[in-house]
């Protein structure tokens, strides 16, 4: 025993720094959020914590601002991820066929992905500005519109602008992941289909798609989780406006914590967000990966 115990201790030392970080910044905050969600802790209570039972969650059920932010977030996530996926997939298929320039294409496309989202927001804010923006200048010149559009000032165009900015930043990620997947497909598989007289569609359906599925799953799950948590773009571009039309759950949660200083309700909001996200991820997992495993 005297030998085993110190050996165990030494083994733990390897994990100690990483575990400490994880406990401090992930585990404790998650538990703290759970506790907060059952408390009344805000300006009204003088920042004294009172047990609230399920009060905060009852409030959530009746909070139309929360429901609208959930809908907005769902819409944003679905539209931008679908666009990013289609663009990324088509581009990966096209670039894979290139003999030259694959590297250059990848470098160029990697740039939007590595830039800070908050700064990309500033970039699009200017491009879509009603007076000084280049989009309105071009549209006016071609004659599509006769007077400058206030892109960020109207509910629908504001949402489209945010989606556009997100697609511009994130479709390269899908592209890079799927391109890596495509490059791993053995060429003999395609030749085999050619010998059997298969069409391009057959190649895609019976070789490309099955090989690509794990990569598709990886890209989609990352994108969905990140799109659902969208904060920087909305906060900088519209602040959630006009009239709450672009307020996503993260932005509402942030305001609840940091502007309204309602920490108990903020906790409940966040717990609800995580539950919705977990359900979505689980549904996607069982849908996509189970199909993949059956296909094998």
């Amino acid at each position: 025993m005297s030998i085993i115990v110190p050996k165990r201790m030494r083994e733990i030392l390897w994990f100690a720094p990483a575990s400490l970080l994880v406990v401090l910044i992930f585990v404790y905050p998650i538990l703290r959020t759970l506790i907060l969600s059952f408390l009344n802790l805000n300006l009204e209570t003088g920042f004294q914590a009172h047990f609230a039972g399920l009060g905060n969650f009852a409030r959530l059920l009746a909070d139309s601002r929360f429901h609208s932010s959930l809908k907005i977030t769902a819409l944003f996530t679905i539209v931008s991820v679908v666009l990013e996926f289609l663009l990324g997939l088509l581009l990966a298929l096209a670039v894979e066929k290139l003999k030259k320039g694959r590297r250059t294409a990848r470098t160029f496309l990697l740039i939007p992905w590595t830039l800070p989202t908050a700064i990309i927001a500033v970039l699009w804010m200017w491009i879509f500005n009603d007076q000084y923006g280049v989009i309105n200048a071009i549209l006016l010149k071609i004659g599509i519109v006769d007077s400058p559009l206030a892109w960020l000032g109207r509910p629908q165009t504001a949402m489209s602008t945010i989606i556009m900015a997100d697609v511009w930043k994130a479709f390269p990620f899908v592209f890079i992941v799927l391109l890596a997947g495509l490059q791993g497909i053995p060429k003999e598989m395609y030749e085999a289909i050619e010998i059997d007289g298969g069409t391009a569609w057959h190649k895609f359906r019976y070789v490309t798609l099955p090989y690509l599925l794990p990569f598709i799953f990886l890209a989609l799950i990352f994108r969905i989780v990140q799109a659902f948590a969208v904060f920087d773009l909305v906060y900088v571009l519209t602040g959630g406006g006009p009239g709450g039309a672009t307020e996503t759950v993260s932005v509402y949660g942030y305001y609840t914590y940091m502007r309204y200083l309602d920490f108990g309700y903020g906790g409940a909001l966040v717990v609800a967000i995580v539950l919705v996200l977990a359900l979505t991820a689980w549904a996607l997992y069982s849908l996509l990966l189970r199909k993949y495993e059956m296909g094998r």
Binding site: R10, E11, W14, F15, P17, A18, S19, L21, V22, L24, I25, F26, Y28, P29, I30, R32, T33, L36, G101, R103, T104, A105, R106, T107, L110, P112, L115, P116, A118, I119, V122, L123, W124, W126, I127, Y132, V134, A137, L140, K141, W168, F173, I176, V177, A180, P214, F215, L218, D232, Y235, V236, Y254, Y257, M258, F263, G266, I273, V274, L277, A281
Partner: protein
């Protein structure tokens, strides 16, 4: 190739706009190519706004976070790569779940912690959270790489009487340099880009990061939007990232696709 142009066009427009003078910037409709050339906007960034401080903050915070994260992750990843498969895959799924938590879940409790530790407006108030936030990704990446380092090397080292830590330091680390570089680079980039925590934890003008500095630049002026400063700010704050992509694109791609390639 059209897509490359689409990716680059908005950035090019900013580069061009950043050297226009204020008269040309106020033109309606805006000019596409600059007819004037001035570096006033860049000068203004550093003279009228505390951009030098922002820049220094970002560099220090991102570099130390990347260093702390990569060091902690590589120690854990090495032992993980040599651990029984069941333990390894359990830790991997635990980390994956953590990585999926949106930042809004963590921001307020971590703010409480940072305030409790007296680190609001201090670089460490962001370095430690950033190192932790990127840890799941770094451990995942490094474990995958270290698994492929042959075990025989360590047996030879053990016969030579090297301790476990020396083996790690003298044999494993040098071999893992490509993966360590990738991890460092990506954690640096993610930390440089982070917005929500930086916005919340750094409320003094002098402790802000570049990303928050540029994003809140227009709010600092009451009556006009300082387009020239914004354009120069975007160029200055993204230049190091664009340079990193140009030089290390292969390493960055390797990092982004590590999870998929392992399958």
């Amino acid at each position: 190739m059209i897509c490359c142009a689409v990716a680059a066009a908005p950035l090019a427009w900013y580069g061009l706009s950043s050297v226009k003078d204020s008269l040309e910037l106020a033109q309606v409709p805006p000019s596409l190519l600059p007819s004037s050339f001035t570096l006033d906007n860049y000068a203004g960034l550093f003279l009228r706004r505390p951009f030098a401080a922002y820049y220094l903050n970002s560099i220090v915070i991102a570099a130390l976070a990347a260093l702390l994260c990569t060091s902690c992750a590589s120690l854990a990843a090495y032992r993980l790569a040599r651990a029984p498969k069941r333990f390894r895959s359990r830790v991997a799924s635990f980390l994956l779940i953590l990585a999926f938590f949106p930042p809004i879940v963590l921001v307020f409790p971590v703010y409480e912690l940072v305030r409790f530790a007296g680190l609001v407006n201090q670089p460490w108030g962001l370095i430690i959270p950033y190192a932790a936030l990127n840890l799941p990704f770094a451990v995942w990446l490094l474990t995958g790489y270290m698994e492929q380092i042959p075990y025989e090397l360590e047996e030879a080292a053990a016969i030579d009487g090297l301790t476990a830590f020396d083996t790690y330091r003298k044999i494993i680390m040098p071999l893992a340099i490509p993966a360590l570089t990738t991890a460092f680079l990506l954690v640096f980039i993610f930390s440089w880009n982070e917005f929500m925590f930086a916005l919340t934890f750094m409320n003094l003008e002098s402790s802000r990061t570049v990303t928050v500095g540029v994003a809140t630049l227009s709010g600092a002026f009451a009556y006009e939007i300082p387009w020239g400063l914004l354009a120069a700010g975007i160029v200055v704050s993204t230049a190091p990232l664009i340079a990193a992509v140009a030089v290390f694109q292969k390493r960055i791609v390797a990092g982004l696709t590590a999870g998929g390639v392992k399958d």
